[in-house]
Amino acid sequence: MENILLQIPSNTAVISALTKSQLIFTSFWFWASLIEFIVIILLIIKLKKRKSNLSFAELTKDKIKSSKDLHIDMDNLMNSIGGSKDLYKELSRLCHPDKFINKPEQKIAEEIFQEISRHKRNYEKLALLRERAKSELNINFKN
């Protein structure tokens, strides 16, 4: 190759570039490194897939740190201590499914009553259910 390059001095730059590129593609090490690179990428993809299948994959470090700043709604807690009992009594009395037997609202009433029983001591949830009962069951509350 060097002999040829010496014989044609005017086109040396073009020919040397061509030979270099040809050398790269024909060399064994180029193909070996390319295959190795592809294998590494495939392994990384596989590892990431496996990680995402883990149940704790969603637990990142940032999320754990932010859990420290988890705000507990103390006002709701105080409301629950003070008023959830009365609200529950009122709601369970007015939204009881037995009041809606053979009516189109029976299913909704059953659903709302189940929710009321589940959130018996959560004032915020009970207040939302009260609004829902007002709109969907057309119940008139005193307050």
């Binding site: 006002d75 807690l77 003070g82 959830s84």
Partner: protein
């Protein structure tokens, strides 16, 4: 050495978080009482706790979360239990209490030594 410094920093951080929770509770209770939402003034304190309820994360000599109800009249046992049940029904708060080293929830009356654990 760095490990020890991190451990000490964590310990202080946790203590600050415990105190913050107690402070937040007391503040909310005071506001609720002033606004007339709650009929009783509640106050929380960190106490020794009950050794029978100890768990792996319990704080030594600080496992009790006492809620004292300053109602001005002797409260019935059912009322005390109701306050305790409302606190225990709040899942987020219970998880936080356990993770911060509390193991016993005490609800006390303002008079005498009557209370529930």
């Amino acid at each position: 050495m760095w490990y020890k410094i991190i451990v000490i920093a964590d310990w202080f951080g946790e203590m600050a978080e415990r105190n913050k929770l107690v402070r937040d509770f007391n503040k909310a209770a005071k506001n609720a009482f002033i606004a007339g939402i709650s009929p009783t003034l509640l106050e929380t304190k960190i106490t020794l706790g009950e050794s029978a309820f100890r768990h792996a994360f319990s704080k030594f000599l600080g496992g009790g979360f006492r809620i004292k109800a300053l109602s001005g009249r002797p409260m019935e046992k059912s009322e005390l239990i109701e306050v305790g049940k409302v606190v225990l029904d709040n899942e987020e708060l219970v998880r936080k209490l356990i993770s911060l080293g509390w193991d016993t929830l005490e609800v006390h009356d303002s008079q005498g030594f009557r209370g529930c654990k």
